[in-house]
């Protein structure tokens, strides 16, 4: 077996507030191969965002092993992470193209090359022609596309997404799911995607990690054996239903 890109084993995280301990994450063990799209799914309070922040290096963990990168794909934590949040968090005073360039500026990357790359990425996410607009001129879905382009600008190996389509309306969300699959396919990145949408997790993921709340722990981790490229009619297939039911059961909803 080849060396995984992300390796987590027995990861545990405890928060302490005023002497009271609160278990945020426990018994989390899973591997993600390079180029996979791993969906972390679970209810609020299951620790999925905490787990994402541990992967991002923003949180420390209590015990267990967290390793990112392999000998074939070395990982530099300061420039190999791209982040997308539930809110687009574009800087209101910057044009779309300059918003996309923010990580490049922070990392001190050569600007001319980055600007060209930003143009290409805006084309990739379907925002060609919106380069010089301000965020308020874009719809929520378009803003989130810009945020995805921003996460890709420094060509990171790992993209971490925290419920990126959670604030969008249902139709736009479906559309963005298809768009994300297309972008993922073209950009060839490893993506860890946090969601509380069960069908979203199955539809997007090559792998689904199920987390439960109270107590916070990992309930399941499985590969999703559905063909690529994925289309919407897949959602009505027998296999898709089986995967979804499996998650519903684990979350005690059946």
């Amino acid at each position: 077996m080849s060396e995984p890109f992300i390796h987590l084993a027995g990861v545990k995280k405890v928060y302490r507030t005023r002497g009271v301990e609160f278990l945020a994450v426990s018994e989390v063990t899973f591997d993600v191969e390079a180029g996979e799209l791993a969906a972390l799914v679970g209810p609020s309070g299951c620790g999925k965002t905490t787990l994402l922040k541990i992967l991002a290096g923003l949180h420390t963990h209590e015990s267990g092993e967290v390793r990112i990168g392999s000998s074939r794909q070395p990982f530099d934590p300061s420039r190999d992470i791209g982040m997308v949040f539930q809110q687009p968090l574009l800087l209101k005073w910057r044009r779309v193209i300059d918003n996309v360039l923010l990580p490049a500026e922070i990392l001190g990357l050569p600007m001319t090359a980055s600007r060209n790359r930003a143009h290409d990425l805006l084309g990739l996410v379907g925002l060609k022609g919106s380069e010089d607009k301000y965020p308020y001129e874009l719809s929520g879905g378009m803003q989130q596309r810009a945020a995805i382009a921003r996460a890709l600008i420094h060509d990171p190996k790992l993209i971490l997404m925290d419920e990126p389509f959670g604030a969008l309306d249902a139709l736009t969300r479906e559309k963005m799911n298809l768009e994300l699959l297309r972008i993922w396919h073209e950009a060839r990145k490893t993506i860890v995607f946090v969601t509380h949408g069960i069908t979203e997790a199955v539809f997007l993921g090559t792998r689904v990690v199920v987390l439960t709340a109270g107590p916070a722990r990992m309930a399941d981790n499985f590969r999703v054996d559905l063909p690529h490229p994925r289309t919407l009619d897949l959602k009505t297939s027998e296999k898709f239903g089986e995967y979804s039911r499996r998650i519903y059961r684990l979350l005690g909803m059946e």
């Binding site: 300061s78 420039r79 992470i81 982040m83 949040f85 968090l89 800087l91 922070i106 420094h154």
Partner: protein, 255 residues
């Protein structure tokens, strides 16, 4: 271009309402046969400008210096202190409550003290304008600098961005709309501060002139002085608005 026509219409209506006020004023005085010392006509008010003894130009320059000087000082020091607060949290916790308490002092009540300490003239009046408009600027700037999305900070942290980068790329530009909202409030207060200063003690300026002509009941000159003070305030406010338009993207402006 319906947008252009609408803009034109808006300007026309704004000018109209001002003209209507002047017309109403004129007819009220003329038809009501109001005595001149109670309320002069618009014509008599403008006519007051011709009295050379009132040294309008000099008085306008003095009052403008007090207003603009006090205001600019308040902007520079106010923003400076708010920046220090955002860089040194302990300093903010130490000094902010004190500033809030000091702000409760009615600045006007300090007037007699300022005269005792600094005598009277442009300097002390400038300080009065400063004192009255300094605090809103500190408060709004400090608030603006605090309002940073935590997720945005996380984004910069994953890229190992420096505190300076967070400040220049996110915090400061994000605080600009707040700074301008404070500056707009302060612009109006600065005018009031300078005039109160002149009332309390001065030998020049439009406020001083008003006290002089009050004795002779030259109400027309008092009216003119009020109009000129208002115009100075409008120029200051207009400059701040123009600067805001240049620096702050439309959507981010605080109305």
């Amino acid at each position: 271009m319906s947008g252009n026509r609408e803009t034109l219409q808006r300007y026309a209506l704004a000018v109209l309402s001002h003209l209507l006020l002047v017309a109403a004023w004129h007819f009220f005085v003329v038809l009501g046969e109001v005595p001149k010392f109670v309320m002069p006509s618009p014509y008599a008010t403008v006519h007051a400008l011709l009295v050379p003894n009132y040294r309008w130009i000099e008085n306008i320059l003095v009052t403008s210096t007090e207003i603009f000087g006090g205001y600019i000082l308040a902007v520079v020091i106010g923003i400076g202190i708010a920046l220090l607060f955002s860089w040194f949290r302990t300093l903010e916790m130490l000094a902010m409550p004190l500033l809030v308490s000091l702000n409760m002092i009615p600045k006007v009540a300090l007037g007699p003290l300022i005269i005792v300490w600094f005598s009277y003239g442009i300097g002390p009046n400038l300080m009065m304008a400063f004192a009255i408009c300094f605090f809103p600027i500190v408060l709004t700037t400090a608030r603006g600098l605090r309002e940073v999305e935590p997720d945005l900070l996380d984004l910069v942290r994953t890229l190992k961005g420096s505190r300076w980068q967070i400040f220049t790329k996110i915090q400061l530009p994000g605080a600009l709309p707040y700074i301008f909202s404070g500056m707009k409030v302060a612009a109006i207060l600065a005018v009031a501060g300078a005039i109160v200063g002149e009332f309390l003690g001065s030998d020049r300026g439009l406020g001083y002139l008003m006290l002089q002509v009050q004795v002779t009941l030259d109400t027309a000159a008092m009216f003119m002085a009020v109009i000129l003070i208002t115009l100075i305030g409008m120029v200051l406010y207009g400059l701040v608005l123009g600067l805001e338009r240049m620096l702050v993207v439309r959507d981010a402006r605080i109305q």
